[in-house]
């Protein structure tokens, strides 16, 4: 493997505020060639991390969005039988019906293996799929190769991709799977960290707005009985909305008014609970 690439270290992206601990973990995982498994509340930037790694190391990012019904083979390759059947019956395409390889399409993992340069492979929300998917994937990621049964060919990874796997902890991952990954849990950022994150997204944001928005945000997160607490993504969208509203004054936040509450709470029972609680802010 190319030493120069292997020795590249990661120190953050242009839109991603990295904490030092996480940077160490990412670099160790890259050096050990281990997939990095990230867990954490929604909105703590698990997916964004993969984007940031790709950006910082100047590699292409391939995203595999795992779905609940997904089988491993879908992520590796697809044998498009229906098109072939169609071609064989009507024969109006340029594909060669007798050549099965023409009907093999690479899935996301397949693409990352076949790529000529090293890529970052993000396997997003792996916990959505069932345990079979995870177990099957182990061997593939371990051996860095898979077989295409239909054409009796083995696809080997040209370059070992940097693998980032995210999980929302919907299901427990199996022990053998965990054993092959490095693990990190991203905690929800503290206010100081959050201020930095917001600043990265809105360069030159008004200090007063930043402080009151972040303060209000953490106050809102304290509200009990809410199913989905607002996370970083919601905060950023909310600040965007505040900034674009010509009638908005920072003083309103200090007074305890929270405009655009619907951006922060997207479920109607949560919205009702939050609205109720915000009513008490003013008092």
């Amino acid at each position: 493997m190319n030493k120069a690439i292997q020795n590249r270290t990661f120190s953050g992206g242009s839109k991603y505020v990295l904490d030092e601990e996480l940077a160490k973990i990412v670099n160790i995982s890259i050096a050990l060639e281990m997939p990095l498994l990230l867990k954490g509340e929604p909105g703590t930037g698990k997916t964004m991390l993969a984007h940031a790694i790709a950006e910082a190391l100047q590699m292409r990012l391939i995203v595999l969005n795992v779905k609940s019904s997904m089988k491993l083979i879908d992520a590796l390759y697809q044998y498009d039988t229906l098109t072939r059947l169609n071609d064989s019956r009507f024969g109006d395409s340029k594909r060669d019906v007798s050549n099965i390889e023409d009907y093999i399409k690479m899935g996301k993992i397949g693409q990352s293996f076949a790529s000529d340069e090293r890529v970052v492979l993000l396997i997003d929300e792996i916990d959505k799929a069932d345990t079979d998917f995870q177990d099957d994937m182990l061997d593939v990621l371990d051996q860095m190769e898979f077989d295409i049964i239909e054409i009796d060919k083995t696809i080997q990874a040209k370059n070992r991709p940097v693998i980032v796997i995210t999980s929302n902890a919907k299901k427990d991952l199996s022990d053998p799977f965990l054993g092959r990954c490095n693990f990190h849990h991203i905690a929800f950022p503290e206010p100081d960290m959050m201020r930095k994150i917001v600043e990265v997204h809105f360069t030159g944001i008004d200090k007063e707005l930043l402080d009151s928005a972040v303060r209000t945000f953490y106050r809102l997160r304290e509200i009990k009985g809410v199913e989905k607490k607002p996370a970083t993504r919601e905060l950023i969208n909310w600040i965007r909305a505040l900034r674009s509203d010509p009638d908005f004054r920072v003083k309103d936040l200090v007074k305890g008014e929270v405009p655009f509450l619907g951006i922060l709470y997207k479920k109607s029972p949560d919205y009702a609970v939050a609205q109720n609680a915000v009513g008490r802010f003013r008092a």
Binding site: V17, L18, D19, E20, E21, L22, K24, I25, N27, I28, S29, A31, L32, M34, L36, L37, K39, E41, T81, L82, L85, R89, A169, K170, K171, D175, L178, G179, C181, N182, F183, H184, H185, A187, F188, P189, E190, D192, M193, Y218, R221, E222, K224, G225, V226, E227, K229, P269
Partner: protein
């Protein structure tokens, strides 16, 4: 060189594997780890595979590299519990003074530590006098899942602790809230409940089964034969019965409400009922237990495959459970004692559990808990307990 550390992790119950230990050695050999801080991060990410063990890891790390005493879990828990109780009671000093048997004026002279110590002493003396529903230490919110729970939002992030040594970071025990016995947060609860799903084919046949279609088409000598299937839906029926009466359940009401909110979103069919202390002739569909009674004798008309989940502290005066007219409500006098009613429910719904917010260590001290445990499998209301309960009721037989 870190073999002791590794075995210590294993000893405290973190599932660490030799392979991961070798991998850590590899990382050390590659020169990736240059300081204790690096070691803290690297070893955790390589050895520890769940945030639930991060807290234990922190403790072991602090112990191994700083000689911080490893606490017996019990000691920690009792004082935490006591502290939580005390905080609650300090809101009303008079009540507390009455309870611990000292004058209110004397109470104000004690420092919180002295008070806590005094309180703990009393707690130890108090292990046997649990009867008649008058026990003054025991039911009032002593569960680790209690109302004093912090939530992960308030936790420290490594990013802002740059100037601290790893040992200090470890000693902060910032992952305590994620540890397995820690307080249940709302999302954890939702995740545990999601396992209650039971997918069965249902509805119109509107999904193309590709594999079958290809097979049938081949059999049909290439004439396309499309095979349709029903889609999978969750058809699990769940009944939740909640003890929402009496002060003994008060500390858990918030928690149980969240549980409700989650449950509502999870299932197609969910009935919720309320009761006070234990169940007699009626369950109630309204939380006030006044306007919508549901006679217990109607239950057999429901699907016996329904999962019946009871949440309550199971703590009451023994006569409420055992006597033929034990109900504290005059309207319920059918002549059947409550424990027979509970047995009836357990027989009607083979998949039933009792979830108890009182920590299991205290179960043995409450007679009614012991009694109800014989009728229903009982689990504690923590993440761990909830998971066990769910896997129990999802068993096929």
């Amino acid at each position: 060189m870190f073999v002791d550390f590794f075995y210590l992790l294993k000893k405290v119950g973190i599932p660490v594997s030799p392979t991961s230990f070798l991998r850590l050695q590899k990382a050390l050999n590659m020169g990736l780890v240059n300081s204790v801080d690096d070691f803290y991060t690297a070893a955790r990410s390589i050895l520890v595979k769940s945030e639930r063990y991060f807290d234990l890891y922190d403790q072991v790390f602090a112990h191994r590299f700083q000689g911080v005493e490893l606490k017996e879990p019990d000691a920690v828990e009792i004082s935490d519990v006591a502290r939580a109780l005390l905080e609650e009671w300090l809101k009303n000093p008079r009540e507390l003074a009455d309870l611990v048997g000292i004058k209110e004026e004397d109470l104000s002279k004690l420092t919180p530590e002295e008070l806590l110590q005094y309180f703990l002493d009393r707690l130890k003396e108090q292990t046997e006098a649990h009867h008649g529903g008058k026990k003054w230490i025991g039911t009032g919110g002593t569960s680790p899942v209690g109302h004093s729970g912090y939530h992960p939002g308030g936790m420290r992030v490594g990013g802002v602790s740059r100037n601290k040594s790893a040992v200090k970071v470890a000693m902060e025990r910032r992952y305590r809230d994620y540890s397995q016995e820690g307080p249940l947060t709302e999302s954890q609860m939702g995740e545990a409940l999601k396992r209650l799903r039971n997918m069965v084919p249902h509805g119109p046949k509107d999904r193309v089964n590709i594999d079958e279609t290809i097979y049938e088409t081949m059999k049909n000598a290439g004439e396309i034969e499309i095979v349709f299937d029903q889609s999978l839906r969750d058809r699990l029926k769940v009944i939740l019965a909640i003890d929402n009466g009496g002060w003994s359940m008060d500390p858990y009401i918030g928690l149980v409400q969240t549980l409700f909110n989650y449950a509502r979103a999870q299932f197609k069919e969910l009935k919720t009922f309320f009761f006070h202390n234990t169940i007699y002739d009626y369950l109630w569909e309204d939380p006030q237990r006044r306007s919508k009674p549901f006679p217990l004798d109607e239950l057999p008309r429901l699907d016996p495959e329904t999962r019946f989940i009871i949440i309550g502290d199971a703590s009451m005066a023994p006569y409420e459970l055992l006597s033929t007219d034990g109900s504290i409500y005059v309207g319920e006098r059918s002549g059947k004692p409550s424990y027979m009613r509970l047995e009836f429910i357990a027989k009607t719904f083979p998949h039933s559990v009792w979830i108890n917010p009182v920590p299991p260590v205290e179960w043995a001290y409450t007679r009614t808990i012991l009694h109800i445990q014989e009728i229903f499998p009982m689990f504690e209301l923590t993440l761990d307990g909830l998971e066990k309960a769910v896997s129990h009721i999802m068993r096929k037989n």
